[in-house]
């Protein structure tokens, strides 16, 4: 048997949907070329949308407005609780309301550069174009964005850019945008256009004759496993950061939908591109169940520093100015504290590795607001960041108005995801992936306030246009029902998997496996990766998987609300996905964005890309659990933004 790491390189893959021609005309052209479905026929076509975050909520609402019959799912008790709600800082848009030199082209440029030249130009340009419409749409829905005294919208700046293009609603932008989408969705539910299934989790994808035709889902309250059929399936199920156990994701965010789709034939692209967010609250002990993010917007006014001397344990107030190292301002004078996330995270890791970290275990750096409070006054700081400061104080029991915050990087976002073309369609016809679940727009590193932008762009504007085209070209064919052999097979597999989990009756809890996997991934596939470590992880993961199936203990039955069963089933998928992440990280021997290979760095310790060798998106094809996958490369062509070594100095 060959080892998992001996992957095969298959044929190249290419996006065939983006039209040729000037980049700013492509989306218009695509929309014009897209076939339309007669409004009268839309009612006869069903689209399944899994997930109700920014992408899923906006897609479900918009598809229903267009006249399609939408069947939507979320594992939460209400579509309003999807984890987009936790996004704090803001949403980018190239409105140029500040007259500070912003434009669609600049947002496009910043995003491609910020992504370290590993994203697809056509997609990113479209995102920048749509960004403008998103703000209009959200304002019309009643999203209470921050405003100036004149009644016009306020903006602030975010990492990796030099313009002020981030729209925000105090520190709860994600919440407000999500409620906007949720309300639009609610209106469609009331109108009978969306059939909503809360507390229902997708467990597998139904593919019939090579097309996505439905899903298998479990009612989390009754435990009933059911099949749902449609003419197209949209996955808006978010990222897979919870592979790391500790992350800023919600506790129940999971990778099951995308991983099951991958197992059914959808390629998984750039799985190793994970974003480690620089400003999170450091962990306090082994009991830690998740990490909490402090919005990047804090870096607008907070200054990051550590003591110059190693092992300096004096309280921060007793460390004089000249014994402090404001390392971001020192190393990157032009962007200072506002360098992109990957750079800020790595810099924090470096100073902590040098032994200059602060707080328990030396795993933290200071984010200091003393200067801001002196400059703007406490009231102004409070107005801008009050809720974040309160949250920090609640968790740490320290007053950030008096003592500098302590922050440390944590897993936050996954740029990788299901491979999609310009239409956001995966390699399985009829299966679409939107929002964080796909891979397309952020390359190897996502800029702050761009996730909200992408989720809403995909859901409100892109998907509804491209699904139209798919449904028009593939009109409603034979009915699929639960009697179909392909359906029976998927259903049986799902039931067997859950029954097996319940029957092992071992001696380890689901969380203990999750934690073990997470620690392994953080150590070897976290902020810095190297060949030896990745090999170690690849060796260890199958062992954990084997042990899991021998020792897992899931109490209760499958016919009830069983949170342990839900967890265990998600871990099954993490244990496979983690392996692919490590392999992807191992094969990509360059450093780029969030993926830092220690073997590929400049003398100054900056990430070094190898464009000749790795200027592609890696799309992996599943071949079986634990067997080497097949790599399909999508060459990335840069016609407008020419790859340079990123410089924020």
């Amino acid at each position: 048997m060959t080892s998992y790491a001996d992957y095969r390189t298959g044929g190249r893959i290419a996006d065939t949907k983006a039209p040729a021609g000037p980049i700013h005309e492509r989306w218009d052209k695509r929309r014009f070329e897209a076939k339309l479905v007669n409004p009268a026929n839309r009612r006869k076509q069903t689209v399944i949308v899994v997930g109700t975050g920014l992408a899923g909520g906006s897609a479900g609402a918009t598809l229903a407005e267009q006249g399609y019959r939408v069947v939507q799912f979320c594992y939460q008790d209400s579509p309003r609780r999807a984890h987009s709600i936790a996004a704090q800082g803001g949403i980018n848009a190239a409105k140029n309301y500040r007259n500070d030199g912003d434009s669609i082209h600049r947002l496009f440029y910043d995003t491609v550069k910020g992504g370290d030249f590993r994203s697809r130009e056509s997609n990113v340009h479209r995102l920048a174009e749509i960004s403008v419409e998103i703000i209009d749409q959200c304002v019309a829905q009643g999203v209470p964005f921050a405003r100036e005294y004149g009644g016009l919208l306020d903006t602030r700046s975010f990492g990796g850019v030099q313009v002020s293009r981030t729209f925000y609603a105090r520190g709860q932008t994600g919440q407000q945008l999500l409620l906007g989408a949720y309300q639009a969705l609610s209106r469609q539910i009331a109108a009978g256009n969306v059939e909503m299934h809360p507390r229902t989790e997708m467990l597998d994808l139904i593919v019939v004759d090579g097309r996505a035709r439905g899903i298998v889902a479990r009612d989390l309250v009754t435990g009933k496993i059911d099949t749902y059929f449609a003419d197209a399936v949209v996955l808006a199920t978010g990222g897979y950061g919870n592979v790391f156990y500790l992350s800023t994701n919600a506790m129940n965010s999971n990778a099951t939908a995308v991983w099951r789709a991958h197992r059914r034939g959808a390629y998984f692209a750039n799985p190793c591109f994970t974003q480690i967010h620089p400003t999170c609250i450091p962990r306090t002990g082994d009991h830690q169940s998740k990490l909490t993010l402090m919005s990047e917007s804090l870096r607008n006014d907070g200054r990051i520093w550590v003591p110059k001397a190693k092992g300096d344990t004096r309280p921060p107030a007793q460390i004089p100015e000249d014994e402090r190292d404001y390392y971001l301002e020192r190393i990157y004078p032009s962007f200072g504290n506002l360098v992109p996330r990957d750079i800020a995270s790595r810099a924090a890791k470096n100073v902590c590795d040098e032994g200059r970290g602060v707080g328990p275990g030396g795993q933290g750096v200071y984010l200091d607001f003393a200067d801001a409070i002196e400059r703007m006054g406490r009231g102004a700081v409070e107005a801008k960041y009050g809720n974040l400061f309160d949250m920090y104080q609640r968790i740490t029991d320290e007053d950030p108005y008096r003592v500098p915050m302590r922050i440390y990087p944590a897993v936050h976002y996954t740029m990788g995801g299901l491979w999609v073309d310009y239409d956001l369609q995966t390699t399985i016809p009829g299966l679409f992936a939107i929002g964080e679940a796909n891979f397309s727009d952020h390359g190897a590193n996502r800029l702050g306030a761009s996730a909200l932008m992408q989720g809403l762009a995909d859901g409100y504007f892109v998907l509804p246009a491209t699904v139209n085209d798919y449904l028009a070209r593939n009109p409603h064919k034979d009915e699929v029902d639960s009697g179909h052999p392909a359906v029976q097979e998927v259903l049986a597999e799902t039931e067997d998997r859950l029954n097996l989990l319940l029957s092992v009756d071992g001696d380890r809890t689901p969380d203990s496996f999750h934690r073990e996997l997470g620690e392994l991934m953080w150590e070897f596939c976290g902020m810095a990766r190297n060949e030896t470590g990745l090999h170690k992880a690849l060796e260890r993961i199958p062992q954990i998987r084997e042990e899991f199936w021998r020792r897992i203990k899931v109490p209760g039955t499958g016919e009830e609300l069983n949170q342990s069963l839900e967890k265990a089933n998600r871990i099954v998928d993490y244990l496979e996905l983690a392996e692919l992440m490590c392999l992807d990280a191992l094969h990509r021997t360059e450093s780029c964005g969030g993926h830092f290979r220690e073997e590929s760095q400049s003398p100054e310790g900056e990430a070094e890309r190898k464009d000749q060798e790795f200027g592609y998106a890696a799309a992996w094809e599943f071949t079986g659990t634990g067997t080497a996958p097949t790599l399909h490369k999508e060459d990335l062509v840069f016609e407008y933004v020419h790859p340079t070594q990123r410089s924020y100095a």
């Binding site: 009643g142 016009l152 009331a190 203990k553």
Partner: protein, 249 residues
């Protein structure tokens, strides 16, 4: 810290429930309340017992999933969500009672998990602005005075957790409903549907079997987001205004 927990256990919606007593040891003051329950659940699983079911997700105080009544207080003794309540708010040796939200409109699903879908139906009745995708005018076409925008935001902060209902002696959902009505009715974008919104949402709220308001003020005290009691006053005003206008038509 060593604690005694008395937790409401109920097999499913139809079963009878009762308080069960558990001891937990080695609790750190830095743990969140839910992490303390995680610790208990890990022990229960290993003992082959059914772990305590409770709703939770983001664990950073914004999704509104967590919903425990701790020592008789919705979300416990601090003004925050259960997930942001830390064990430093308790002392070694304490006995802590943990119960689910209680209201007939929020039936218990299992243990500490309740069904809050009534809230979704209240929003579906009118808690939105009809603005189909693509129909929006330029964002700056309608300036919104900052005080109005701030007021709308203050009400829009509601996380839909249901603590207001849990704390209310009448199981009323007035604070939840009024928060959304005030959020949208204050903004120019929400103005065209101002009357139907309040009438339909209040009617749905009644339909769901929530109680009425006796202005006990418990909801506003329990609200982790600090939605003020005046929110309900604002809703009453909107309702009267809408009723008068409807009467004239």
């Amino acid at each position: 810290m060593k604690l005694t927990l008395r937790v409401w256990r109920q097999k499913n919606a139809d079963a009878d429930g009762a308080m069960s007593t558990y001891e937990v040891d080695g609790i750190s003051p830095d743990m969140s309340f839910l992490e303390m329950l995680d610790t208990l659940n890990e022990e229960l699983i290993l003992k082959g017992e059914d772990p305590v079911a409770f709703d939770h997700d983001c664990r950073e105080g914004i999704c509104g999933a967590c919903s425990l009544v701790i020592n008789g207080d919705a979300h416990g003794p601090e003004r925050t969500t259960t997930c942001q309540l830390h064990m430093r708010s308790f002392s070694d040796g304490d006995t802590i009672d943990v119960e689910p939200w209680r209201a007939s409109a929020f039936p218990v699903v299992k243990d500490l998990v309740v069904d809050r879908s009534a809230f979704d139906r209240i929003i579906q009745a009118g808690g939105y602005v009809t603005a189909p995708t693509g129909s929006a005018p330029e964002a700056h076409a309608t300036p919104v005075p900052k005080p109005d925008a701030d007021l709308a935001f203050e009400h829009a902060e509601c996380i839909g957790c249901g603590a207001c209902v849990a704390a209310c002696p009448n199981g009323a959902a007035m604070l939840f409903t009024s928060a959304k009505i005030n959020h949208l009715n204050v903004l120019p974008q929400g103005a065209p549907e101002r009357e139907t919104r309040v009438l339909d949402m209040v009617a749905q709220m009644d339909e769901e079997g929530f109680g009425g308001c006796t202005l006990a003020g418990e909801c506003a005290t329990a609200c982790p987001k600090g939605i003020p009691l005046t929110s309900i006053t604002g809703m009453n005003k909107e309702w009267l205004r809408a009723t008068r206008k409807a009467g004239k038509r």
